[in-house]
Symmetry: C2
DNA sequence: AGGGAATATTCGTGTCAAGGAATATTTATA
DNA sequence: TATAAATATTCCTTGACACGAATATTCCCT
C-alpha cells in the first residue's frame, strides 16, 4: 500500500535512449519548433526528423499542433514528471546512506547456517 | 559559460532503457544483491542476469564486490545524480509556464516577412 | 489550376543487441 | 582431490530499429 512504485514507463526511457531524439528533446527545452527547424539544427534530413518526432509523439513525450503547412512540436510535461517521480524513489541511493555492504555480508552469513 | 548543459550520458539512458535492467535497478534500490538472487527474483537464467549486470557495471551504474564465490552488485549514486541534474534542466517544461504557442506563432509570422 | 513548400509514409537494407545453449572459471565442500 | 555451487563468457540466431531513398500528402501562393 505505502510503497507503491512510481512505475516509470519503459516507453519513455526507450524513446529517450536514442541520440537524435535526446537532442531533439534538449532543443525543445527552449520552446516549440517546427519539423524543418529541428531537422536543420540537428543536421538531419527531414524524413528522419519526422520519424523521430513520430516516435516521441507516439510515446507521449511530444505534442503537435498543426499550423497550416507546418507542424509545431513541443514537449509535454507529464513524462518528465513521471521520470522525476521515479528518480525520487532512488533518493536513498543518491544519499549513499543506504547500503553498508557489511550488513549484507552478515546477513549472508546467517542464511548459510541452513 | 553560464548555460552549460548537465550533459546526460547516452550510456546511462541506453542501459536503463531495457526492461530487465530497469527491474534490476529497482530491485537494487532496496540494497545490494548477488547474481543468483537477482536472477531468481527476475525469473531470469543466470547467464542473462550476468550479461545485464555486466552492461550496467560497464556503464557505471553498478559496482561489484567479489565476496568469495559470490559477486555482490549495488547501485552507484553518480548516474542518478547526473540524471537528476539533466532532468532539472527541464524545470520550465515541467512547470508548463514556458511555451505559449502564440508567442511562437507570432515569431513565425515575423520571420515570414523576409 | 498548377507549382512549390513543408511534412509524412513506405520500402528495403544493414547493424546491433538480447536471448538460448553450451562451456569456462573460480571457490567452497565433502 | 573430486564434486558441486556461483558466476562469467562464447557462439549463434533472431528481431528490432535507424537510416537512405523515393514517394505521397497537404497546404500555400501566383
Amino acid at each position: 500500500m505505502s510503497g507503491k512504485n512510481p512505475g516509470m514507463d519503459m516507453k519513455t526511457l526507450r524513446a529517450l535512449a536514442e541520440p537524435n531524439r535526446k537532442v531533439i528533446i534538449e532543443l525543445l527545452r527552449d520552446g516549440p519548433l517546427t519539423v524543418g527547424e529541428i531537422a536543420d539544427r540537428l543536421g538531419l534530413r527531414q524524413p528522419q526528423a519526422s520519424k523521430h518526432l513520430k516516435v516521441l509523439s507516439d510515446n507521449g513525450i511530444l505534442e503537435v499542433k498543426a499550423e497550416a503547412n507546418r507542424r509545431i512540436y513541443k514537449l509535454r510535461p507529464e513524462p518528465f514528471h513521471a521520470l522525476d517521480a521515479w528518480l525520487n524513489s532512488f533518493r536513498r541511493v543518491m544519499q549513499e546512506r543506504f547500503d553498508n555492504l557489511d550488513d549484507y555480508l552478515r546477513e549472508l552469513q546467517n542464511k548459510e547456517k541452513s
